[in-house]
Symmetry: C2
C-alpha cells in the first residue's frame, strides 16, 4: 500500500496515550484508576430527561434549527450569572462563548493566538491532551516547574523572560494530573505577569466545583486587569461529559476571534445539550446537585488515600487533594534512571493484579521525568473496589520499590 | 487599548460574510433568500421527542458518560447500513467516523492532510466557509473552473498538473451555491484522477438526499479504487442542523488520523444527538421523512423558478436545479466591471424592498468574479412569500440591469 502523505504538522500528534487509558477502562475485569471520568452515579438523569422534554416542547424550532456560533443565549446568560459572576469575575454576556467541552475551548484559544513556532508554557506535569492540541498547531512547548502547590512563580517568570511566550496554559484547581491547588498569592501574581509581559493565560478550571473540603479560591481571571486571562469552564465534571458543553469568559475581541474560528470548525455547538445546561442552571439545580455528589466523591477519595497510606511503600510522595478526581504518586527512584518505570509497571499491574492506572510519562514534555509517577483516579469506582485495588497495587509496588 | 497579538494565520479569516447572512435572517421584516437552512416545518419534532426520551431511558450512562472519539457505534453502524452501502460505496464500520456536522468533517480532513503552503483545489464558486477553513491552516487555494454541469475536468487536470495539489474539495450534488449537479462521467473521472495523481478528494454531499426530480447519482466515492476519496455526509439538511451531527466514510488510516485530530479538538461529538440520529435511521424513518418534505420543497423551488422566469430581467442565466436548497443567478455585465455589483444591490434590496439574498462575491476566491451573481435559497419561505419577494426583487433588478 502506498504511503499516505498526511500533514507533517501531525508527525508528533498521537492518540496512543488516550487509547491506552480507554482500553483499560472498557475491560470489566480490570479495576481502572486510569480514567478521568465523573462517576456514572453522579449524573442527574431524571432531571435531564424532564428538562430535555420541556425544552423541546417550549422551543423546538430554535433548538433544531441552526444556532449562533457564539452559543445559545440562555446558556451564555446562565453561565455568567451562576458560574462567572459568583467567582468575582467582572464580565457581561459579550464576554462569553459556549464550546463543545473544555478541550475545544483550549483548542480555539490556541488557534486564536498561536502561530507555528510560538512558545506556549505549560505546568509540568499537565493534562496530556494539550500536548497534541499545541503540536498540531506547530507550537513550541516549554514546561514550567511545579512544586507541591503547583506552578512555581520564579521559574515561570524566568521562562517568560527567556522565551517570550504567547501563552500559558494552567489548571489552578485540583490540577490534572497532580490534584494540586494553586494558592491565592500565586494566582494573583500570574494575573499580574499576564499584564506585565502581554502573556495570554488560558486558565482551565473544570474541577473547581468538585471541592470536598476547605474554602473555594478565586480564579486567576478574578485578578485580571489586563484582559489577557481566558477562563475555561466545563459542565463535563458537574453535569455530564457526554453532552459536550463548556463555556469560557474573556475580553470581547478574543471572543470575536474565537467565534470566527469556531464558525469554520463546527459552526456551533449542539443546541439541545446547551439548552439542557441552561435550564439546569436557571432552575438553580447545580449547587444542590454538587452538594449531593460531594459525600460520594469524598468517600472514594478517602478510601484511596487511606489505602495509599496503609499499603503503598513508605518512601513515596503523594497528593492529599481537597477535591477533583485525582491523586498523584511519586515513587522513589527518580534519580536512578532505569530503576523504576511506571510504563512497565502498569503492564505488570494490569496482567497480574488486574489494576490499571496512568503512568506519569505522558503528562510530561520530557517523558523520562514522569517515569516514577502515576496518576490515580478515585471518582470511577466504589470505596470497596478502591480499597481492594489500592491494596493489590500497593503490594505490587512494595515488591518493585524496596 | 493595546493591539492584541492574534495569530497571523488568521489575518485572512473573517466571519463577516456569514454574519451578514445571519443578520438578514433574524430581522422578521425581511424576506430572506440568504440563508442555507432547512425549513422549520421539515423538522421531525414529535419523533425526536419520543426518541430522546427512549434513548435516555435505555442507555442513560452510555449517553451521559464520555463517548468514543470515532463516534457512537450504533450511529456509525446505522450510517453505514442506511446511507453509505445503498449508494454503492464499499465500506465497513472501521471506515466511518461521526462528526459535529459537515463543516467539522471537512475541517478534520483538511487538518489531516494540509500543511501550510499546500495547494487545495476548489470548485469556483463554492461553499464560502471552506475559504476560512483552508486559510486558518495556511493552505494555498486554487479555484477550478466550472460550467453549468459543475467542475470542468479539463481545467481540473490542468491545475492538478500545474499545482500538484494535496486535495480537491467538491460538492457534486445540488452544489452550494450554484445548485448544479455533476454528471456521472465527471464523477468517475474525478475518482480516477484521485488515484492517478495521489490527490485526496473531499466529496461533500449534504444535499444529495433532497432530490425533487430525476434519478439519484452515485457519489464519487462509489468509483474510488485508490482510497483517496473521503465522502462527507450530514444530517443537518435531512433531520436537523441544530443537533450538529454528520459522518464520513474513508480508508481506515484516514479515519484513524482524523480520530487523533478530533480527540484534541473536541474529544467526541455529543452522544445524545448521535443517538437520536442512530435511532431515527434504525427505525427506518429517514426515507419516509424525506418523502414527506419533498413536495414542500418542490413547491417552494417552483415558486422561485416561476418568479424568476416571470419577473427577472430576460438576459440573465440561472440554475434550474433538481434538488437542494439553492438556485444561482448570473446577471449580465460580468464583462463590464463596475457596471453591476450584487454587494451593492443587496443593500438597496434590503433597504428598499425588504428582500435579502447572498451576493456572489464571497463564494469566489477572486471576489470580482462573483459581482454579477446572487445565491437564492428557496427552502426557508412559503411559496407565497417567495412569489412576492421574487417579484419585488425582479422589479428592482429590471431597473438596475437594463
Amino acid at each position: 500500500m502506498k504511503q499516505r502523505s498526511f500533514a507533517a504538522r501531525l508527525d508528533h500528534v498521537s492518540g496512543a496515550a488516550v487509547k491506552d487509558i480507554i482500553s483499560m477502562m472498557v475491560d470489566p475485569s480490570i479495576t481502572s484508576f486510569g480514567g478521568g471520568s465523573p462517576a456514572n452515579e453522579s449524573f442527574p438523569i431524571a432531571e435531564i430527561k424532564e428538562i430535555v422534554n420541556q425544552v423541546l416542547t417550549d422551543s423546538p424550532y430554535e433548538l433544531l434549527q441552526y444556532g449562533k456560533t457564539e452559543g445559545y443565549l440562555p446558556l451564555r446568560e446562565a453561565y455568567l450569572e451562576h458560574i462567572v459572576l459568583p467567582k468575582g469575575v467582572r464580565a457581561d454576556v459579550q464576554n462569553v462563548i459556549t464550546v463543545s467541552g473544555g478541550t475545544q475551548g483550549f483548542d480555539l484559544a490556541t488557534q486564536a493566538f498561536v502561530d507555528p513556532g510560538d512558545v506556549v508554557l505549560l505546568e509540568s506535569p499537565t493534562y496530556l491532551t494539550v500536548f497534541n492540541v499545541l503540536r498540531k498547531l506547530g507550537a513550541e512547548i516549554v514546561a514550567v516547574k511545579t512544586d507541591e502547590n503547583g506552578i512555581r512563580i520564579d521559574d515561570l517568570e524566568e521562562k517568560i523572560q527567556r522565551y517570550h511566550p504567547k501563552m500559558l496554559y494552567a489548571i489552578p484547581t485540583f490540577q490534572n494530573p497532580t490534584g494540586r491547588t494553586l494558592p491565592v498569592e500565586r494566582r494573583k501574581r500570574i494575573a499580574e505577569l499576564a499584564g506585565e509581559y502581554n502573556l495570554i493565560v488560558a486558565e482551565d478550571d473544570p474541577y473547581c466545583e468538585l471541592r470536598y473540603r476547605g474554602e473555594a479560591l478565586p480564579p486567576i481571571k478574578s485578578f485580571d486587569t489586563s484582559g489577557n486571562v481566558i477562563m475555561l469552564s466545563s459542565f463535563s465534571k458537574t453535569i455530564s461529559p457526554g453532552i459536550r458543553v463548556g463555556a469560557l469568559v474573556a475580553d470581547h475581541d478574543i471572543i470575536e476571534k474565537m467565534t470566527d474560528i469556531k464558525q469554520c470548525s463546527d459552526t456551533h455547538s449542539t443546541n439541545l445539550t446547551q439548552a439542557i445546561c441552561a435550564e439546569y442552571l436557571k432552575r438553580g439545580l447545580l449547587p444542590g446537585h454538587i452538594e449531593s455528589i460531594r459525600p460520594m466523591y469524598l468517600a472514594r477519595m478517602n478510601a484511596m488515600l487511606d489505602g495509599i497510606r496503609q499499603y503503598f511503600p513508605k518512601n513515596i510522595r503523594y497528593t492529599d487533594p481537597d477535591g477533583g478526581l485525582f491523586t498523584w504518586v511519586e515513587l522513589p527512584g527518580k534519580e536512578l534512571p532505569g530503576d523504576v518505570d511506571t510504563r512497565v509497571i502498569v503492564k505488570e499491574s494490569v496482567a497480574k493484579i488486574k489494576v490499571g492506572f496512568v503512568p506519569g510519562s505522558p503528562f510530561f514534555l520530557d517523558p523520562a521525568e514522569g517515569k516514577n509517577c502515576l496518576r490515580l483516579n478515585f471518582s470511577s469506582n466504589t470505596p470497596e473496589k478502591i480499597s481492594a485495588g489500592i491494596k493489590s497495587l500497593g503490594d505490587l509496588l512494595c515488591e518493585i520499590v524496596r
